[in-house]
């Protein structure tokens, strides 16, 4: 007991030499492990958060499969795929920024982070354009002009949808009207979930961009060294997570059934 006491440096002196070490941690290793475990658990809560919506999506997709598939075909596949690539690129630049921090290359670190911001904002811009198109097509559920039966946004404008929805076989006008009303309702649920899911994802992206503006600034100021770059690392974890959410969203929303479309 007395031995270990004699060896101990007074707390204040010990910590003064290591400005990044917060007072309640014994050493940097412990601090880094705590931060990264905290972020992993936080991502666990995020999975549950999105999980609630994914669960709703699965329930309704099973209940109203044909309507979901038909509505899914109205989403802009090339743009969605391009956006996926953009987001994947941003994850790559984040990973490279972490690598350059480990190597102590500040210039490349900042460049990679700036690229990340560009990719992130590009993703949001493209997403915004897609939403704008949905507005023009009258596909936004909350508005009174919502219409998937006729006009610019009619589901039947997409090849194969009339067969998928069974509209081509209905000749009786009353029955056709009933079916159309049904389609109108059920696709509304699809688009509600589409906007809820992509909207929640976009909010996470916006938060991510905010975080990375701070991180880029810190990198620019030379705050990250090969020994200490925990903020960059855990912000990177968050970014990758938001990316992964999109990796699931893209097939679930855009690729329900593209056969013959």
């Amino acid at each position: 007991m007395s031995d270990s006491h004699a060896m101990e440096t007074p707390l204040a002196v010990e910590h003064e030499a290591r400005p990044e070490l917060r007072h309640h941690f014994a050493d940097e290793q412990q601090q880094r492990n705590a931060a990264s475990l905290g972020m992993w658990w936080f991502l666990g809560t995020e999975i549950m958060f999105f999980g609630g919506m994914f669960c709703g999506y699965l329930v309704y997709r099973r209940m109203y499969f044909t309507e979901f598939a038909a509505a899914s075909r109205t989403l802009n596949l090339p743009i969605g795929a391009f956006n996926t690539v953009v987001l994947l690129c941003s994850s790559l630049t984040v990973a490279m920024a972490v690598r350059f921090a480990q190597l102590g290359n500040r210039k490349m670190q900042v460049r990679m982070l700036l690229l990340t911001l560009v990719f992130g904002l590009a993703f949001l811009g493209i997403k915004g354009k897609e939403w704008g198109d949905k507005y023009k097509e009258h596909h936004i559920p909350t508005f009174n002009h919502y219409n998937v039966i006729s006009g610019e946004g009619a589901l039947t404008n997409v090849k194969g949808n009339a067969e998928l929805l069974g509209l081509d076989k209905i000749t009786d006008p009353v029955k056709r009207q009933q079916r159309e009303a049904e389609i109108q309702q059920r696709t509304k649920i699809f688009y509600s979930l589409y906007f809820a899911l992509t909207g929640m994802h976009a909010i996470h992206m916006i938060i991510g961009v905010g975080i990375f503006i701070v991180i880029t600034w810190m990198a620019h100021k030379g705050r990250f060294t090969p020994e200490y770059h925990t903020p960059l690392e855990i912000a990177g974890l968050y970014w990758h997570f938001v990316d992964i959410v999109w990796i699931y969203l893209f097939p679930l929303l855009y690729l329900i059934d593209r056969r013959g479309a």
């Binding site: 101990e8 309640h24 705590a34 658990w41 549950m48 609630g52 309704y60 559920p141 509304k188 509600s192």
Partner: protein, 546 residues
């Protein structure tokens, strides 16, 4: 003047700094715990006020005190305030916050600033909820069932939903802090097998907070979106599924019951060995049963929906899983009892609460098994039987645990003893008042009195039991107010407690009371298991009694 008794005025977390700023910008887990204590106590009285109005209305069969719509708001807001703003933060955010770092020999929680942030988030949420109350309240029941909440209710559902959504983040951050702290901040020698059971239970609670709370958050977001944007996800007339809402709601809100009860079990697991002067019986089983409750607790939610149109087969599975969750709960009860068996018992105030907890939790838990039985549930579903059942768990269990814990660690928190005689009296009053309030409700429920009714003039014979219940509630209120008074009194006039008035084991008792800001002058090194009571001397008062 009373401080004369202290030989040297030591610097501790309370007198290290003064002024309102030193509290509002503190990152000390002990100070944040006290901030929480004050805030949740305030919310407890808000919720208690609604309870008072409910009980007064039910004193007579006719609906004569409140309007029907007002009554709906009263029970809704009573439930929401008590569950989301008192019970869920109660023991974890106050006692857990205060004790977990000390129990594992750490200087603070892993993320002190996030800890403070969680309190501010709680305050924002509570403020928004109070605003909702004063602008007219909410009447959906605490459960927000759709499509009523999303389509028909003309009350402030959005404010209430958002307030609870925000409060959820406060509890997520608390849980996150606890999990990381337990994993990463333990002192040398503090192995998992040496952790106090208090910490094990809070670890299990934190896992539920982390994995459950996000689901209610997104569910409430969907309800708010449905209401503001007129979506129809949960509206059956537009192809939506209201039962999906119930699944999502109870996926959190059933495990939330364990967020409320596990911390109480944590407290009881500390009190019982201390006042039995014995090692806890079956440490590993008690620790693992906490984890078991957390895990199985996630698999039982649909037992709230047996009459909501779920399939018979899934109802059977959920019924079986619900029976299963009784097993770890029973393990705890048996182990506490076995700990007391042949121990040197002393019936100090915390022990009275702990013993009260065991009895009332057993009743609450066993009636839960009745309710998990499909046939019985059909009969008593949505009656006062259910109300009595969950109040036995939430009040008889969670609140008694909270009061017991507050008494047990009061000397550590404040450095002073509360008056023991008053303490025991209050504990007995709470026990009597509680049983008088809620036992009649079991009978009322079995007789068929539905929950949430404001007028029972078609069945005037229910009045006798309702009068008993209201009378009990008044006694219970006295039992709550008494500790408020004498504990505040003891802040100034209480006897100086000393470091370890109960001669309890655990690192938190090895540091001065009140503890210094960083808890320990030097990081402790743990060499023994928890609850080595055979090595501890008897506390002064107990040895005098003998």
């Amino acid at each position: 003047m009373a401080t004369v008794a202290v030989p040297v005025e030591q610097k501790n977390y309370l007198n290290a700094e003064y002024g309102i700023r030193s509290w509002l910008f503190t990152t000390d887990h002990k100070r944040i715990a006290l901030l929480y204590l004050v805030s949740i106590t305030a919310m407890f009285f808000v919720g208690g006020f609604f309870a008072l109005l409910i009980r007064l209305e039910l004193l007579t069969p006719a609906g004569d005190l409140l309007l029907a719509d007002t009554y709906n708001k009263m029970f809704s807001m009573h439930g929401q305030v008590m569950v989301f703003f008192f019970l869920i933060p109660s023991i974890p955010a106050v006692l857990g916050n205060f004790l977990i770092p000390m129990m594992i020999g750490a200087k603070d929680l892993a993320f002190p600033r996030i800890n403070l942030l969680s309190w501010y988030i709680y305050i924002v949420a509570a403020g928004l909820y109070l605003w909702c109350i004063f602008s007219g309240g909410v009447d959906t029941g605490w459960t927000f069932y759709t499509p009523y909440s999303s389509l028909f209710s003309n009350t402030h559902v959005i404010e209430a939903g958002l307030a609870i959504f925000i409060a959820g983040f406060s509890s997520i951050l608390t849980g996150l802090n606890f999990v990381v702290t337990v994993h990463r901040m333990r002192a040398p020698g503090m192995t998992w097998g040496r952790l106090p059971l208090f910490v094990w239970s809070h670890y299990a609670t934190s896992i539920i907070m982390l994995l459950g709370t996000p689901v209610i958050a997104i569910t409430l977001v969907l309800v708010v979106l449905e209401r503001t944007l007129n979506l129809g996800i949960f509206d059956p007339s537009r192809g939506g599924d209201p039962v999906l809402f119930q699944h999502l709601f109870w996926f959190y809100s059933h495990p939330a019951v364990y967020i409320m009860i596990l911390p109480s079990m944590a407290v009881v697991s500390e009190i019982i060995p201390c006042f039995s002067r014995k090692r806890v019986f079956g440490y590993t089983f008690v620790a693992m049963s906490s984890i078991g409750i957390a895990v199985i607790g996630f698999l039982v939610w649909a037992h709230h929906m047996f009459v909501a149109g779920i399939s018979l087969y899934s109802a059977l599975v959920f019924s079986f899983l619900t029976f299963l969750v009784a097993v770890p709960s029973a393990i705890k009860v048996f182990n506490w009892t076995a700990t007391m068996y042949k121990g040197s018992l002393s019936f100090s105030t915390p022990m009275l609460y702990a013993i009260g907890f065991i009895g009332l939790f057993t009743i609450g838990g066993l009636t839960g098994v009745f309710l998990a039985t499909l046939g019985v549930d059909v009969h008593v579903h949505d009656t006062y039987f259910v109300i009595a059942h969950f109040h036995y768990v939430m009040v008889g269990g969670a609140v008694l645990g909270f009061l017991g814990g507050m008494h047990f660690w009061w000397p550590k928190i404040t450095g002073r003893l509360y008056p023991e005689g008053w303490g025991r009296l209050a504990a007995v009053i709470v026990f009597i008042g509680f049983n008088l309030t809620f036992f009649p409700q079991f009978i009322l429920g079995y007789l068929g009195m539905p929950r949430r009714y404001w007028d029972y003039s078609h069945m005037p014979e229910w009045q006798g039991l309702n009068v008993l219940s209201t009378a009990g509630a008044s006694i219970l209120a006295v039992g709550y107010l008494l500790p408020m008074v004498y504990m505040l009194w003891s802040l100034r006039y209480g006897k100086i407690a000393g470091d370890n008035p109960w001669q309890a084991t655990g690192l938190e008792w090895k540091t001065p009371s009140p503890p210094p800001t960083f808890n320990f002058d030097e990081t402790p090194i743990v060499t023994e298991e928890a609850y080595e009571y055979d090595k501890m001397p008897l506390p002064e008062e107990v040895s005098l009694e003998r």
